[in-house]
Symmetry: C2
Subunit: 313 residues, 2 copies
Amino acid sequence: MALAGPNRVQLHEVAPRDGLQIEPVFVPTEQKIAWIDRLSETGIAKIEATSFVSPKHVPALADGEAVLRGIRRRPGVRYAALIPNAKGAERAAQAKPDEVNVVISASETHNRSNLRMPRSGSFAALADIRRALEGSGVDLTSSVATSFGCPFEGRVDPNVVLDQVQRLLDEGCVAVTLADTTGMANPRQVAELTEAVLARHPGLVLTLHFHNTRGVGLANVMAGWQAGATRFDAALGGLGGCPFAPGATGNVCSEDVVSMFEEMGVSTGVDLDALLAVSKDLPGMIGHDVPGQVRAAGRPMTLHQPPDYARAA
Amino acid sequence: MALAGPNRVQLHEVAPRDGLQIEPVFVPTEQKIAWIDRLSETGIAKIEATSFVSPKHVPALADGEAVLRGIRRRPGVRYAALIPNAKGAERAAQAKPDEVNVVISASETHNRSNLRMPRSGSFAALADIRRALEGSGVDLTSSVATSFGCPFEGRVDPNVVLDQVQRLLDEGCVAVTLADTTGMANPRQVAELTEAVLARHPGLVLTLHFHNTRGVGLANVMAGWQAGATRFDAALGGLGGCPFAPGATGNVCSEDVVSMFEEMGVSTGVDLDALLAVSKDLPGMIGHDVPGQVRAAGRPMTLHQPPDYARAA
């Protein structure tokens, strides 16, 4: 067999947070709740449902508490919220997502741009966050932004990423995500870094997060899978982007990722038709089309009628 | 090393034929010639420059002879023309591309739809074509359309593809292309079929031709490369499509394929900046935007200025 990798993978849906956060429209809370509830029924393993950041900075997600209160928590699905600091952790300790996700960039300049503090400040905040979560039952996870490249600094030293993963685990994170925040990764690099991280931490709950900025998103998913990764972030319809990388398209598209794996015989646990049905209503909710391709072209084995002249006699 | 494959690959540019053939505008002959001449300077190994089909069926390419007469044939670049039958071969024998490409589908229904004859008729035509080319110095090559799936019949038996490759070589073809005509392939299937074909014909001049219909185009290129393929069709800007698969996007995008390989350290021989410069003028020529992503987002290592507040003190 030419291509080998794990027989099962998990999809983590990030559109409700990573997708909506840059949308100019405010999707009404009830609509967000209904949307997340529909996503919960598709077999997705984890949903990043909202964030607890300043409503001034991300008005689209100002209703984090109401969203988490309103959704039906489906058993077996994990619900995550992004938080930037101890204040967010205090909100999360009340609202009780299953886990919070704290983003720290491997690149100093990206961290300062995205979070307005140096990486050292972010690591200090992480310790505050851990303390704020103590006894809440909410798990701490972290994403290594710009793991594969920084739009300001360029290449990122893999050793910086490896050191950051170690530090995150030392700080009590139960899972780590390597994020290609602005779509700079290539498949060889993905395979090498994924292998290096898994070699150092064989039991690590590792997720890979790719953007399709240069069209290589699914090739990077494939490369990570071949290197042993089993958890992948993706956004319904391919929503998302990065304010610091003009022209960037969004996250890899959930439906396209699921379709690829299912066609390969790799189980995702996701009902693709159900997911496509949710995706169908996405443009109406946000007011514009989205880049996902299976939703436009149909599943690969969707058959068409041949022209009359081509039918066998 | 996690991902292994050949150190060098070749890009075959198909936009002047596979891209333009479905465009509703007629690009003036002089403009086509100037375009192909610019492409010839980028380091591309082969250009499918036109076709010799009925001008009634493909009016966009009615000027095949004039195009081949007008272009500057750059040494080291091969120029190809698609032909459907012996009449096309007679035209080619006069116009003298380096090679002609004859398409025959692995699927009976697709062959009838696309070429209005059964596969047996296409194989008979191939023998006529070979005779018409004798002594002309024009090489005969063939593409196996729907190698990875048929939009009418669904899955295609790999043994049908293997038998067709054998038959094409027996008929005197010097090169064979496996084409995922409507974007139904998945990476595992690509790796398995590519390995099977190369195992049976180790010296075969094999090209892979993918469409990005379901977003998996570059993942399929990666899988083919890992299986040993070194030649890939692609279209500038991702032009192209298939009239029988509604919603289908086009061929894999030349710039995106080159960018992926170059980022991985795999040599393509192509000057990506020169190719992007040609791509920049493409929407003006055909009157609409194109799906290529590196042209929109910039090369992965195109750096941006951080916000003022993020600069180190």
